[in-house]
């Protein structure tokens, strides 16, 4: 290589490096963009789809009260919320599954759990010709989702539904395709209902499903069940209601078939409310009592225990206080159960832990 072409190469490489460095160093998070009011704050959050309807209502209402604060919540599933909070790409997360100790250990800044509402997971189905509500025993649900019960007119289902005309068609199972707190609630219940399920599949936000289609989010599962005849899936109650979908009754620990409603969820939480642990991590599936709906759960916001940005911290703690008081009024209209008084009081005290 001649000296001149060496020089050319060196100049070009230097130029290229300067260009690349300029491109990479351009975004400085603290520098505001032009023509945007300096006090406008946008907070990014992501996580569970289970409470998405109530969260989007809350963030919208709160924004109307505080126009300079925008909380951008994306419902990508509990797994996504946990991951993005871990990577630091969102300011807080949301999950229907309480984090395990090993998971907490992976966080640089430990997140705190704050329950927001309680909800119910229902088995929603789309069976042509069946207009009434089907009753499902615990074994039936476990069997269907394990692929052991494959036809709608299987005795396990038929025996509990003497009036219904069940077709002999194959059951199409729909579950979540991504990491989901709703999946955790559902599989947690199934693990308590059926030891076989517990051994073979287990309970987690993402499991090795023996059969079925995967839908993205509660939205995707409802969409698939809506579109696919002879299908059954599990979704949060409000998704089935808002979309006028059939959902069945589930047999609880006391043997009673219950259709999911606010009373059932509140009854399920009654025992836990009295003995709520300090970190708020608790499961209320398959709760005892004849009025308890067996597939109920709290859902949590995952708030970092310390913030480097004081403005964000104050905005979030302000929202939390509003959510625990005025926010709870919006829950019933969207079929979520408001938090028990004891839990609210405990959470108000816990907010001071956020630095």
């Amino acid at each position: 290589m001649t000296k001149r072409s060496l020089k050319q190469m060196a100049t070009a490489v230097a130029f290229g490096l300067i260009l690349v460095a300029g491109l990479i160093s351009r975004p400085r998070p603290s520098s505001p963009a032009p023509a945007v009011p300096a006090d406008r704050l946008q907070i990014n959050a992501a996580g569970a789809t289970f409470p998405y309807p109530i969260y989007s209502k809350w963030f919208d209402e709160y924004h109307k009260m505080h126009p300079d604060l925008e909380i951008n919540y994306q419902s990508i599933g509990s797994g996504g919320g946990i991951r993005q909070l871990q990577s630091g790409t969102v300011d807080f997360g949301a999950s229907d599954m309480p984090l395990k100790d090993e998971q907490l250990g992976q966080f640089k800044v430990k997140p705190l759990h704050f329950p927001t509402v309680m909800g119910a997971v229902v088995p929603t189905y789309n069976v042509p010709g069946v207009t009434g509500d089907l009753k499902f025993t615990q074994k039936a649900l476990a069997g269907i989702f394990m692929g052991k019960i494959t036809k709608w007119n299987d005795p396990e289902i038929a025996n509990a539904n003497s009036g219904a005309k069940l077709p002999g068609d194959d059951i199409v199972v729909v579950h979540r395709s991504e990491g989901s707190g709703t999946t955790f609630i559902w599989t947690d219940f199934l693990s308590k209902a059926d030891p076989d399920w517990k051994a073979k599949v287990g309970s987690n936000s993402s499991v090795n499903w023996p059969v079925g289609l995967g839908g993205k989010g509660n939205e995707g599962v409802s969409g698939l069940v809506q579109q696919t005849p002879n299908s059954i899936g599990y979704v949060e109650l409000i998704y089935a209601i808002q979309n006028h979908m059939h959902y069945g009754l589930v047999q609880n620990a006391a043997g009673v078939f219950l259709k999911a409603d606010l009373a059932g969820v509140t009854a399920a939480a009654a025992a836990a409310a009295k003995s709520m642990p300090d970190d708020f991590r608790v499961s209320i599936t398959d709760a005892p009592g004849k009025n308890a709906y067996p597939i109920s759960s709290f859902t949590w916001l995952l708030i970092p225990s310390s913030f480097s940005d004081a403005a964000k911290r104050d905005a979030i703690t302000g929202f939390l206080r509003w959510m625990l008081k005025e926010g709870q009024q919006y829950t019933e209209a969207l079929s979520y159960a408001p938090l028990p008084k004891e839990v609210v009081a405990k959470e108000m005290k816990a907010i001071s832990k956020i630095k």
Partner: protein, 284 residues
């Protein structure tokens, strides 16, 4: 005429009819797609759609104003980053190129063109989102820009090379330095083709969803600046289409119509520019 000839003639007619059917079928597909979008989308497009922000889940009356602007912003960013790289690189290949280096550049441009867009998304995530600790319009714009580059590069090179030699030598003979000759004579001469290449690359990239899923993410509000997540039409279509809400389905159709109209207008427009250019250069 023997039996064999009759058979052969029959085969002739049959096969060509089949191919004609194939053509008809393919054309019909396009019209079906357009038809459905016009029908479902047309019914859902409303003033709200263009001016309002998304409403809470389950409530009607929301719109995609932020997604429309967001797509525009992302395209602008992609063009700002990708077009200079593609254009100037193409100038190099056409004017100074020849040899292994140019061969390598052309080969890697082809490589880039063939990379699935989801892989571009992974790249932009590791290179922009993780260090910035933020989903951002910048990351999305970068992913799109990298997809723009090969198309702009190849078409720039192609249309610059097509500029007739006498034009170049004339400029040089008049005493212009090489770069002046290129900048003031060659590039303007090839400009129509280059512009077409840029427009086509924008049309291709405007509809991309996969690279935006974990780079620009999405936003229910307006996105200030370039370092926040930003809503975009393709991502909104994806999210809304998968949901069970009727209102969201309708909005997805409307957004699909708007997106397709945008892509078609750019594609058709660029072809018109190109054919106009050829006509004028032939008569000139």
């Amino acid at each position: 005429m023997g039996m064999r000839t009759v058979w052969r003639k029959a085969v002739n007619i049959l096969m060509f009819s089949l191919t004609g059917l194939a053509t008809l079928f393919t054309i019909a597909l396009l019209f079906f797609i357009l038809g459905y979008l016009l029908w479902y989308g047309g019914r859902s497009v409303s003033w709200n759609f263009f001016t309002k922000l998304p409403t809470p889940v389950g409530e009607t009356g929301g719109g995609m104003a932020n997604a429309i602007v967001g797509s525009g912003k992302l395209l602008l960013l992609a063009a700002l980053i990708g077009v200079p790289v593609g254009f100037l690189g193409g100038v190099y290949l056409a004017e100074f190129g020849g040899g292994t280096f140019s061969f390598l550049v052309r080969y890697t441009a082809d490589l880039l063109n063939g990379i699935p867009s989801i892989v571009m998304g992974i790249f932009a995530y590791t290179v922009v989102v993780l260090p910035m600790r933020h989903f951002s319009a910048l990351a999305g714009g970068l992913a799109l820009a990298v997809m723009l580059v090969p198309i702009v590069l190849r078409s720039t090179e192609q249309f610059l090379r097509a500029v007739p030699v006498p034009l170049r030598e004339g400029a040089l003979a008049l005493g212009a330095s090489k770069w002046r000759a290129v900048a003031t004579v060659v590039v303007p001469a090839g400009f129509r083709g280059i512009a077409t290449g840029i427009l086509l690359s924008l049309a291709r990239v405007a509809g991309e969803t996969a690279p935006l899923l974990f780079t620009s993410f999405s936003n229910r509000f307006w996105a200030p600046g370039w370092d926040q997540p930003i809503a975009s039409l393709p991502v909104m279509i994806y999210t809304y289409a998968l949901s069970p809400y009727e209102d969201w389905h309708r909005q997805a159709w409307a957004a699909g119509l708007v997106l397709l109209a945008l892509v078609f207008i750019i594609t058709t427009g660029s072809r018109i520019i190109l054919s106009l250019g050829f006509q004028s250069s032939r008569s000139g």
